[in-house]
């Protein structure tokens, strides 16, 4: 069972959720999952698009209370 890391990027203007995700994935093993929390609605669209582009898997995404979340599994 791989571990799931959570990045709380709510209220982060710089470097922002996707940059945090990219940096985190570099430190993770293939199969590990990371959940990114964001108050930027664009994250729900940008992160899955980018993950698909580079070949990572979006496991889950949606809106919860006052923020959006996306779970990505490192695939390579």
């Amino acid at each position: 069972m791989s571990e799931r890391k959570v990045i709380d990027a709510r209220g982060s203007f710089c470097p922002g959720p996707l940059m945090e995700l990219i940096a985190a994935l570099k430190l993770m093993q293939v199969g590990d999952e990371v959940e990114i929390l964001s108050t930027d609605q664009g994250t729900a669209k940008d992160v899955p698009e980018w993950a698909a582009k580079v070949g990572h898997e979006t496991v889950d995404s949606g809106e919860k209370d006052d923020h959006w979340f996306v779970v990505v599994r490192k695939a390579k």
Partner: protein
């Protein structure tokens, strides 16, 4: 029994904390009730933002350095002896010499470093300006550059988030001045889908690049560099040719953080308002070392350090918490050789950069000197 404050790291964050704390707890230090010790890795303090000017010959190298001992308040006990292990359970730090320092309160400010070796071919094929040796080599490369394709390549994570834009616009004006701009093509690459992490900065940069004829490639996360073929390729499947590659390499934190099991990549999990290490009540983390999703920048280190000073001083003298960190960041942005702007934001206030002006550029040049007052905790 006197209380011991130990600061690991002699960069901007650690130095401001040391100097500021000395002033706040001067009476207690005079009476021998509290001591402040710093463990550093070098006897010199470098003004890192000044490296931006080195490739263009716009700053003398000696202006970047001061002896760390002279920057530090004389009441700070200073050891040049790199930390090799930080043991937060037993409240002690071991150094390269074998010396062991116990503490009551610890401030971890070990900073970040470039890791071009993390990307195949980048060390051999790239130039950078994030350390002095790299900045000197880039200066030499620019001296002999006669036109061609320049790629300015940005990787995550990295510190000083506006520096990639600054070097791009400064390169353009530098090459114009040498009469080489009409023989040069610059392509700027960025890891996410716009030209800067800060949306308003990206919105300003795009038309500015369009106006100058600077090309850009977004969603570009570097996979490898081929120094022989002079190409750089991305995880997203794009390959660019270059004659000169100016890269902002990915960063890691200090090895001692990883070696001590305090955080992946050298970033310490840190409460974003308390600036305490997660799980600790007597370990503060300051500057680039935190894993807080915020800009790794000198101003961040400065504002965090001010918060740590207030809280440590209050805890030591009054037994109470003083205030939380609000996420404040302030960055000057050089928009060319003669103009600049600035951006500030915090956890609740979005950034809103103003129009570039020569006045703000002059402020930035002035700050290049005033920095030493910041490091001394006076500004």
């Amino acid at each position: 029994m006197s209380k011991k404050v130990l600061i690991v790291g002699g960069g901007l964050a650690g130095t401001i904390v040391a100097n500021g704390l000395c002033r706040h707890i001067a009476p207690q230090m005079r009476k021998g009730e509290i001591s402040i010790t710093m463990i550093g890795t070098t006897d010199t303090h470098m003004y890192q933002p000044g490296l931006l000017y080195v490739p263009f010959g716009k700053i003398r190298e000696h202006e970047l350095f001061r002896p760390q001992r002279k920057v530090l308040d004389k009441r700070v006990i200073f050891h040049i002896d790199p930390a090799t292990n930080i043991d937060v359970e037993n409240q002690k730090v071991t150094c390269k010499s074998g010396a062991v320092h116990e503490y009551d309160y610890l401030v971890i400010a070990t900073g970040s470093r470039i890791m071009p070796q993390n990307i195949p071919g980048m060390e051999e094929g790239g130039h950078w300006f994030y350390d002095l040796d790299g900045a000197r080599k880039l200066r030499t490369a620019l001296d002999t550059f006669e036109g061609g394709k320049i790629v300015v390549n940005v990787n995550a994570p990295h510190k000083c988030p506006v520096a990639p834009l600054e070097i791009t616009f400064m390169l353009k004006e530098y090459l114009q001045g040498k009469g080489l701009w009409n023989k040069t093509e610059i392509t700027y690459t960025y890891p996410i889908g716009r030209l800067h992490a800060l949306e308003p900065v990206a919105e300003w940069a795009k038309p500015a690049m369009d106006k100058d004829g600077i090309k850009y490639e977004t969603f570009f996360n570097t996979k490898e560099v081929d120094p022989d073929a002079k190409t750089i390729s991305s995880e997203e499947g794009v390959t660019l040719n270059y004659d000169l590659l100016v890269t902002i390499p990915p960063h890691n934190g200090a090895p001692v953080i990883m070696d001590s099991g305090l955080g992946d990549g050298g970033w310490v999990p840190t409460n974003k308002t308390k600036l305490l290490r997660e799980g600790s009540t007597n370990v503060f983390v300051c500057g680039d070392t935190t894993n807080i999703p915020i800009s790794k920048a000198g101003s961040t280190a400065h504002f965090e350090a001010d918060t740590v000073i207030d809280n440590l001083a209050s805890i030591l003298t009054e037994g109470r918490w003083a205030r939380d960190y609000d996420g404040k960041v302030f960055c000057f942005v050089e928009t060319g050789m003669n103009t600049g702007t600035y951006v500030w934001f915090n956890y609740t206030t979005p950034p809103n950069p103003g129009a570039p002006s020569q006045m703000i550029h002059w402020f930035k040049l002035a700050y290049n000197r005033l920095y030493w007052l910041s490091a001394r905790g006076l500004l």
